[in-house]
Every structure is written in structure tokens, then in C-alpha cells.
Subunit: 423 residues, 2 copies
């Protein structure tokens, strides 16, 4: 398939016309003498597993392939590295904590709730230190938000590289967070000392060795940032920042500081190591674009995809995918089966929350002809997800971060999918 890595739309259309003669098969059929339905099975003749055997349950052994995975060559060390959510095998919108991607700058740390402290200092009326129990006394909110690493899809700038949606788009997860608005804690410390808040910042850092310090404009800090202690109802897992992490809705994941230990109100950005050595975008002319916090609208088809071939042949096919925008709600997703020549509006599984994953579907009858599958998201601001060409025209090819371009999967007549670019 190497010659298909950059299929032209013209050649693709020629191929499609020849193959588009299949009939639409029904999805179910009456079967005769299938022993799995006619015979009494072993599992109907036993007493099964009792309720006292698994106080905390894990996925069944047959799903052991649905796990976080890393790409060994991608970073020097698994301690300062990333792994990827198995989004190819997930459905709906919620990501279980157990398989939600991880990114640490110096590894995940283990801290007891009793040892947790959060300091607010700098330009505040009264510097404060909060214990975990203190945080539990402030009014709480619940919100579902996506968290996307700025480097998600970052290996795809130069060409179609990683052959699986888990690896091209899996640095994302979507959970229901419970926490205290950062605004409430800042107001408790008092912002009078900061004067005019318009140009003020907060500098946030974690308790791990990297500290992963980042600067956040005061306007965002007072808007929807949460100091969160639960995800999907239960305590944050160690790898997600137990006992407390920052949730910065719609903004790049590296600002969602885990094991959050200090928030300093200041009159300038800190320009920390993490926001100068990383998380800036090198443009075509070598200059750097910085403070690119918001994750723009993006979408991707999760099935079919390279890890999720079509195994049932022609006939009814569910094309399933995810869309999200750091600017608010997803209002529309279109799907193309011919590499962007024609588009069909997708069905949204459920109107998504703001700054949260939205599931979309296109239900089709597949004629067995090869497809160049693409999805294109639109958000409430009217922004439309760009093609790879459009993104390269604007940003060049020196970037790692903020690649939100339209992804293409080539699906052949056997249903095998491959990561490709169209020209």
C-alpha cells in the first residue's frame, strides 16, 4: 500500500466507480443449527462468580488489548513520556480513568491526602495554605471536560506516520470532574493586592520533581478553571494527579497541573522552562508562536481506522468518531468518504457539553468500494477544522503542537484501513 500513502483524489474516484457495484447485505440473518443458540452452553449450567470476589472490578480478560500504550521511540524515557488512550476501541464520550492517557514530566508521584497542601501566594491580601479537608469545604461543581495534550497528532505534521488512531489522536481523555472553582480560592486569599486584574497572571506548579510550572492569565483563572479532586465520580487516580489537579477547560493538557501545590498571583507571565523550552510553536521562518493555549476544533474517525478494520464486508456500516473544541460546543460534524470531495452531515450521538468530547456517527451502506474517510468539525464560534494543507500553509512544518487538521484513513476493499494523506 505504499503507493497509496498519497493517493490523489482523481485516481481514487476512478477506482471507486469500478468497485461500486456491491449489494447491501442485511445485518442479521436467521441461522439454522448454530450450536451457540440451540445447545445449552457451559455458562448456563454453572453458578458464576459471586459478588464478594471483586470488590473493585477490572475489564474482562478478553478486553486486555484495550489499554494505554506508548510508542517506544517517541521519547527518551518512560518517566518523562506519554501513553495513549485506546480511543479506537472506546465508544460514547466518557473515558475511564484506567485507560485515559498519561503524560508526566518526571513520573507519577504518590501522595496521601493528609500530606496534601496547596499554597496561594504572590499578589494576594492574605497568603493561604489549604489542606485537602479545607478544599472539601468550598462549594463544588461538576463538569465534563476533554483534556488534550498539545502534542496530540504532533507526529503527523511531516506526513502520515503512526498507523492507528490510538497513536495519532489518543492523547485525549474526557471525564466528569468534581472540584472547587479556582476563583473561589483566589477570592478567599483576596485579590485586592493585585490591583487591576486585567493584566495579571497566576503561575501554577505541581508537587512533582518537574513542577511543570505554567502561567495562566487571570481572566481564565477566574473563569472556568477547577481545582479538582474527583474524576468520573471517584478519587483521581495517581497518574491523573491524586489527590488534586488543576482542570483548565479547553486549554492544552500541560496546563492541567497535577498534584497542584502552588498558585502565585503575579503581574507578569513567569516564562518558566515549560513555556519556553516546550509548548511554543516554531513557525516556517524560525520564529516562535507562544501562548497558544486553546485547543482548536478537531475531530477524528475512530472506527473504521487502522486498528479497527471492517470485518463484516459490504452492507450496513457504522462510521463512529469523536469531535471537540476548546472554544465551546461542537455544533456540526461532516464526514467524507471520498477524501474531501463530497461531505455528509454526521449524526451527533448526544449534544455534547461545552469543551467536552462529542460522539458522532455516519450510518451507511458500504458497497465494498475503497474509501478515503475524513471528518470535519465545526464549533459554536463558526470555526471549521482545517485540512492538512491549510494548516501547513499557515504554520509550516516545524511544529509539534496544535495539529488539529483533518485526518484521512484509506479503507481498501477488504476493509483494512491505513493512515494516509490526500493531495
Amino acid at each position: 500500500m505504499d503507493e497509496m500513502h498519497k493517493p490523489s483524489r482523481r485516481a481514487f474516484l476512478r477506482g471507486s466507480a469500478a468497485a461500486a457495484a456491491g449489494s447491501i447485505a442485511g445485518a442479521a440473518s436467521a441461522q439454522t443449527a448454530d450450536p451457540l443458540i440451540t445447545d445449552v452452553q457451559d455458562w448456563a449450567s454453572i453458578t458464576g462468580v459471586g459478588v464478594d470476589e471483586t470488590p473493585y472490578g477490572l475489564p474482562i480478560e478478553y478486553e486486555s488489548h484495550v489499554v494505554r500504550r506508548n510508542v517506544e521511540w517517541l521519547t527518551a524515557s518512560p518517566i518523562s513520556s506519554i501513553n495513549f488512550t485506546p480511543i479506537h476501541a472506546l465508544e460514547g464520550t466518557i473515558t475511564p480513568q484506567g485507560c485515559a492517557f498519561e503524560r508526566h514530566h518526571s513520573g507519577a508521584i504518590e501522595m496521601k491526602k493528609d500530606d496534601y497542601r496547596l499554597m496561594i501566594n504572590g499578589l494576594v491580601d492574605k497568603p493561604l495554605v489549604f489542606t485537602y479537608a479545607d478544599l472539601e469545604r468550598f462549594p463544588r461543581e461538576n463538569h465534563v471536560y476533554f483534556c488534550e495534550c498539545a502534542a496530540n497528532t504532533g507526529m503527523e505534521w511531516a506526513g502520515a506516520q503512526l498507523n492507528g488512531v490510538q497513536f495519532t489522536h489518543g492523547m485525549i481523555h474526557n471525564m466528569e470532574y468534581t472540584g472547587v472553582p479556582l476563583r473561589a480560592l483566589l477570592n478567599e486569599a483576596g485579590l485586592g493586592a493585585a490591583g487591576d486584574l486585567k493584566d495579571k497572571w497566576v503561575y501554577v506548579e505541581g508537587a512533582d520533581a518537574s513542577s511543570n510550572g505554567r502561567s495562566i492569565p487571570m481572566e481564565k483563572a477566574l473563569d472556568d478553571v477547577l481545582v479538582a479532586f474527583k474524576a468520573n465520580g471517584e478519587a483521581l487516580r495517581m497518574e491523573h494527579g491524586y489527590p488534586v489537579r488543576l482542570v483548565v477547560p479547553g486549554w492544552e493538557g500541560n496546563m492541567w497541573v497535577k498534584w497542584i501545590r502552588r498558585i502565585e498571583v503575579s503581574d507578569a507571565a513567569t516564562e518558566s522552562r515549560e513555556e519556553t523550552s516546550k509548548y511554543t510553536d516554531v513557525m516556517e521562518d524560525g520564529t516562535a508562536r507562544k501562548w497558544t493555549w486553546v485547543m482548536d476544533a478537531k475531530s477524528v474517525i475512530t472506527s473504521p481506522s487502522p486498528q479497527m478494520p471492517i470485518e463484516h464486508g459490504k452492507g450496513p456500516l457504522v462510521i463512529s468518531g469523536l469531535a471537540w473544541s476548546g472554544h465551546g460546543q461542537i455544533t456540526r460534524v461532516d464526514v467524507s468518504r471520498d477524501g474531501g470531495i463530497t461531505w455528509e452531515p454526521a449524526r451527533l450521538g448526544k449534544q455534547g457539553d461545552t469543551k467536552a468530547l462529542t460522539r458522532f456517527y455516519l450510518d451507511v451502506d458500504w458497497d465494498g468500494a475503497p474509501m478515503l474517510l475524513q471528518a470535519r468539525a465545526m464549533d459554536e464560534t463558526g470555526y471549521v477544522q482545517p485540512t492538512k494543507e491549510q494548516l501547513r500553509d499557515a504554520r509550516g512544518e516545524n511544529s509539534v503542537y496544535h495539529n488539529n487538521c483533518i485526518q484521512t484513513w484509506y479503507v481498501n476493499a477488504e476493509g483494512i484501513a491505513e493512515n494516509v494523506e490526500v493531495s
Copy 2:
């Protein structure tokens, strides 16, 4: 505290007046020389756990108490038994699969997707057998729904018995399901043979030894019932029916048949063992009330509660709880701190989905006086959750199922909570 098991409201009010003189303490305070904030901690001096160590993550060891638990005396065998969701320790609305309550009639069974079959037979034009792959070809939907066992709170009919919200109200969970509407599968088989659908039924049974067969009126089967294969994004866990279970929104959990193997269209209810020996309500006069499928509006305060004492003394206190209704959306929850004499409207954490858990909060300044905490839910039909007295007046005390009465926690001046009744 035995004498407080049935505290009168009058005596309670006398007690409160005397104790209501405490000052409101701030939730956070500046601290000097707290080594946890001033000293470099061990976890800031190490490289932590890398991303390759936990392909599938589990809760941190410090949360090992947040697990499903059973009550040993409650049923004869852990195989035909139940355990309880640790709702006292959860927040928000989503229940992780790993700690969502289980109820099996003959234990959880292990079945591969490839071995899965679902038969639709009876009054259909064309009996069909679906494989798992067949189900994946039908248009999917995503919905968050609560699932409550009919017996939830069943041990509380005669008096305040189990001293923990996990045990009084923990036979409930709330997940995001992905599945195919049952309607689509019935239509695939064709309902022409059934004639007038008004009085028709489906009989649903599971692949386990108990089969747990139940009859569902056709009207419900064609409404919002899902044949579901994912919960919270990932495959159903074994104990939740892997690979496929029925989701019957708003209706009692025993109808959500796990390992669903057969759906028969019929012109009468089957009156199976599970709907005659169980899941009917014995009234005061000895007659039985049957077909009581819908779970009426209900709410409970999860914290403070017997497993969640107030440990920080007077001052700001977050009262947190859950509300739900099988008839649709929760529109309002009121909280009482004096055993139902006066009520305050609670803040809904987020407008809940229909037939899904809604989180509510009352943020108060606790004066340190004892409280008789109650919550009262209202749903979109105008229905108001009844008191225990009202429920007993209507139903007597012979029932096990469908106890949706208002729950009372007595919280003493030390913040210790206890399951009580008020008279």
C-alpha cells in the same frame, strides 16, 4: 445514641436552640512553618512512576476502602446476592464500572464476544439470531441512565437498620451506555406478525443459569430500551453483562437483563419465576402489587452520612447528595436540617439527563448544633418523594421493593452521623 433512633422533632428543636451559638470558621488559614509546604518533600526529589508501568490503572492504595461491599447476613449465598456501590465516597454523577453495584441471580458468567448470540423469536415475521458483530452494524445511541435495584433501601421498611448510605442506598449506579435501540432489532425481525402492538409484550432472558426472565410491555420495548455493549465508553465489565446487556431506562434493575440471549414477542406476559416469586410488592392486606416497574423519584444525602462524618467541626460544610427519577428529569431537590420542619432548595450540580443521577448540594455554615438531615426530590411530572410515614400508610410494612422514602441522618455535635427515623 440508641434513644435518638426515633427522635421527635419537638425535642430536636429544643436541643438545637441551645447549641446554635458557634462562630463560623474560615475554611482555610495561613500557616507558619508547616513542613509539608516549607520543606522539599521526598516526592519532589524522585523520578516517579513511568507511563509503561500501568497499561490499565487502578485506584491508588489510599482509596482501597472505596469498594463494593456486601452485607453477609442479607442473602444466603454470594452467588445469588448483591453488593453495594460506595456512594458515600463518590461525587459527581458517573459511577465507574469497577465499583458499581452487582446483583446476580446465579453469579457472573464469562463469555467471549465470538460466542455471543441474541435470538429474537415469537410473534415476528422472521425470527433472527444476531451475533455481536451484527449488533455493531446498527445505528447506535449514547445515553446516561441510572440503574437501581428494586430492593434498594429494602431493609429500611421496618425501621432504620443499616448504618451507612452505601448499604441503605448503594444498589444504584449511573453510566453512559452505548447500544442499539431494541426497537431497531424488533423492526429488523418484523412486527407485522404481532398484529396490534398495544397489548403485546416481549419476554427477555439472559444466558446465565438463572436466565432471569422478565416480561416488558411492547410500548416500553419500542420506546427507550437499549441493547447495550459499552458502559462509560468501554466494554461492559463481566459483572455488568459482558458482552451485551439490556438497558431499561427508569425501570427496576432486575429487568436490565445481563448476557441477554433471547427476546420473544408474545401476546401476554410470561409470568416467569422472577416476576411472581420476586419483584412483586406484598401489601398490608396480603395481596400482591405487580408490574411495579418504574423507580419513583428518590434522593439521599451521601455526605455527611454515617460513613462520612464531619471531621472539621463548625463552619462551612458542603452537604452533598444524589437524586433520580424513573419518570424523567429531576427538577428540584430540597434539603432539611431539622427533620422535615423547614426546607431549603438545594443547588443542582448540573442539570441531569433524563432517568439519570443528578448531584445536588446545599452549602451551609454549620453552627455545630445537631442536625436531622433529609433530602426530598421532585421530578418533571410534579411527583414529590414521600416521607416514610406516607409510604407506610400507602403500602404497609410487608414490602421489600420500591422504598423511595425520605431518609434521615442524625448528625450530632461531634459530626457523627447515624441512620434514624423521625416521628
